[in-house]
Symmetry: D2
Subunit: 304 residues, 4 copies
């Protein structure tokens, strides 16, 4: 299949359409981005990579980093993780604090904010130098040293992160946060601030298309079983309350971030990343969802 | 792969374990079933079928029928369906009426009771002889005339179906039910009362493993795209608020019913059905979930 | 205090102001009322009565009848009532079905619809000729035979009462409705359809200003303790989710109905009724609330 | 009426009954109290005071202080307060964060924690030396310099006050907290840590029985209208989700604290305070509720 031709055509088609949605505004640093940025990259397990548009420009991956922290936590403590966080879709966003209160501080899954905060807390307890160790882990998955935190984004999130502070305090009141609240938030904001290009992100996710083994070094980082389970979690929980529609229209596990990135995994084949900063009402990149829908329709790709 | 040996071994293993859970009690007719019944069938697209235990005994498929009514409704009215019912996982069961009220009578998805009631209402408006036409449709998917409603189960459900009546009345108050309430409930209870064996159920679901084409007659009943979308909906919504755990542990789209049946689909390959009447706390067959987990672990089957 | 002068002045003032709000539209029969109707009556325990405007025209008292059914139920079964219905304010209206589901079919209080439906069910079990016996009871409280049900309003409510049917079915699913659902709804709609004038309503409520004794015949119908408790319930639950604001601004126990009536009780002194059909967003008569606020401000009347 | 005899008899009766409930445990400092402490005081507008038991021992008044902060805020900014906090009962406790999220950071009323945190924020913006000025205001209402904060209780609450921190962060995310979060919490915990005896508390509340005028100095601190409105708010919101039952059984406006104190107001007559540290499931003093119920039953006191 001529992936380069296919993504070029989709890029051109979507480029001519209205660029709908809004850049994330609650993190001031993210508002500075040029909203017309638009890039696509597809990287295969057979070491091919196809790019179009702004696919080699760094952007803030935000919630996409939750997949890396989950992976590291599962590697470190295994199934015990699921005593402190669930694995079910979260339903409607207005429910977030509702469910957290009703379920006594156990977040619905590790890919929503409250769940990722618990994962951060777990990593804080296990890692010697949490921020350094986590960055090293991501660089290893990426096979790339040129990945780093953005301290301006960290500072910007901290300044206005009252809702995250509400979540972490509520969970601490139920005993589901063990470390100091400010340290948990600081670590969490660092992870969210990671910057990558489309190509880097596709390549970093290839481990999940490859059953838990690094495609570059053949090193097994996580077991096949854990790798599949991470994909299942991404499929059910990766796009917040648009997960059903995404599974329905795109048919691949995908994870989005408010920086405008979305990455999707075709197990056994490739990963594809789109970046376009304007978000739809559900908080997912408008063009990103559109591109992936066209891509899987045109190529008949789907896990279903 | 020697499927017969694998299911035999799993059957033997699970048979020796404690038969946990409770037979559904809110439908008196279902309580009469022998709780030690236990059957497995796997049927492939290549026309092989493998059985063990009570796999040729009829049982009440209950909510599994929601997949057939969804399929027929999509065939009849297509994408318009999604104006009256959503496609997102429903979250916690305690939310059902909450969300229905909050979202002004639009059910979360077509595989929960409220959603299936809307689908029933749609079919009632479109079919000339609703009960007869629906039964014919299922018999066609099954390639089998020996499938019918159980009128005792219908009567039993009607007598105590106050919660379903609450749902349908609430949706009618929001204008999302067009037909007479008693007729909607009567049709809905008939669909739930369908009886099949494990083998019949596996074979009836093969159309979804086969991209929408009947494997026996090669007749295309629904498009490839609709078939994939039904699988996606089943994956995300098929096991109520255990959907995440099921995706995580089993890794295949699956649909359960309170009669103790669960059927799972491996696209391009086969369908596998388990029947065991005792249900776990989430309302899904305890042994059914266990068998499917062992099966996909032992065979490394997974869409992820 | 010159009550006639005070209510005349308030009537004139409010009459000149914009007549805001909307006539209740969900009961077609109620929409037919002339929205400019406006009457006030104050009747004292010392047998004086003061009227202005349309105070001798019959209107549909609707939910105000819930106070009479509560009174009769407490007279018949006493404190046992509180096993089947609570006595706390209901909070926000969007919560109604939420709370009913969460609290397993026990309504928050007897003055919201679900609570009054349980009270209807109790009366149905206790009265020989429920509709006749209830009407006789109200006529006795009113010292007036000229009070009756309006069968057009009953028919109109039945036709579109899907939300009430949802409530009663949900409660039946939890075992908190003992009688046939259609009979409960029929009796409930009859009670809501009672018609009275402002003067009749003030006089019927005098028993609650008089500690449970009929002011005309000196007959004790309920104990002093029950009479006070009914007033407390009216104070906390009488105006749905505007109860707090009403207590705050008016300072007397009051009960409203969607027909546009509101009656307030000054224990030991008098009852005052206002009728004006246009309702505010909380479902209470706009002019009714305004008149009572001016009245208690001008006369410095308040139980606080 | 011989109040001394009445409270003596009630004290003796309740003393012989089982001392049910649990001392508040989430504030370690409060757990140290002797759970058998039990005192009653009634103080009248005619300058009489009647005591029994441990009525002259200081205890932590906790949430009862919310009435003083509300009074001072209304005095300082008047009706503008109601733009930032509601005046309706809060319904069920499990709803607290639900409602706060649903109503976008506007707490239900000023007597629940979230509402009192907003009031603290308002006072912080208006007072020059908040802690000193507030203490002076309470001492003035009490006509007593011997009232102070307990810094051990402040420290103890801060250490484990994660739920309050969750509330204040959530409100800040909606823009309904203007000051620094730590300062708001520090001020709030100081107010909660005030210590008084039963007699001091009764006397401090006499201003609300006296229409807003200090009974000792005849100084008018707040208007008659505001005084009545505070009483109405106390009646509807003073005992959390037991407000309805308290209005029903006791029939007077009352405010409780987790330190085991409850004070009730009989407008125009007196205030009565009970202190007993063991709390019922709703968080109100078990013996306190019992004593007040017996008192108003025996004396036929009630505003209804």
């Amino acid at each position: 299949m001529d992936y380069q031709k296919i993504i070029n055509e989709i890029y051109t088609q979507v480029q001519t359409e209205d660029n709908k949605g809004k850049v994330a505004s609650y993190i001031p640093e993210l508002k500075k981005v040029n909203s017309s940025k638009f890039g696509i990259n597809l990287s295969t397990l057979s070491s091919n990579t196809f790019s179009v548009g702004d696919s080699n420009e760094k952007f803030s991956i935000q919630s996409i980093s939750k997949v890396f922290s989950l992976t590291l936590a599962l590697k470190l403590i295994g199934e015990k993780l699921w005593k402190r966080v669930g694995v079910e879709p979260s339903g409607d966003p207005f429910n977030s604090l509702v469910q957290l209160e009703f379920e006594r501080g156990i977040p619905r899954n590790p890919l929503i904010n409250s769940g990722a905060l618990v994962v951060s807390d777990i990593l804080l307890s296990k890692l010697k130098k949490p921020k350094e160790d986590f960055l090293n882990f991501v660089q290893k998955l990426a096979n790339n040293q040129n990945i780093s935190y953005n301290s301006n984004v960290v500072a910007s999130e901290k300044k206005l992160g009252f809702k995250n502070a509400a979540h972490v305090n509520l969970m601490k009141s139920f005993g589901n946060i063990k470390n100091n609240i400010d340290e948990v938030l600081d670590f969490y904001y660092h992870m969210c601030s990671l910057e990558m290009t489309c190509e880097e992100l596709s390549k970093t996710f290839l481990i999940f298309a490859n059953g838990g083994m690094l495609p570059y070094t053949k090193e097994r980082v996580i077991s096949l079983s854990i790798s599949k389970r991470i994909n299942a979690t991404i499929q059910l929980c990766g796009l917040y309350d648009e997960a059903g529609k995404f599974a329905f229209k795109v048919g691949l596990p995908g994870k989005s971030g408010v920086g405008g990135g979305i990455v999707a995994i075709h197990p056994g084949k490739y990963c594809i990343t789109v970046w376009s900063p304007k978000l739809n009402k559900k908080g997912n990149s408008s063009r990103g969802v559109k591109v992936l829908e066209l891509f899987t329709t045109n190529t008949e790709a789907s896990i279903f």
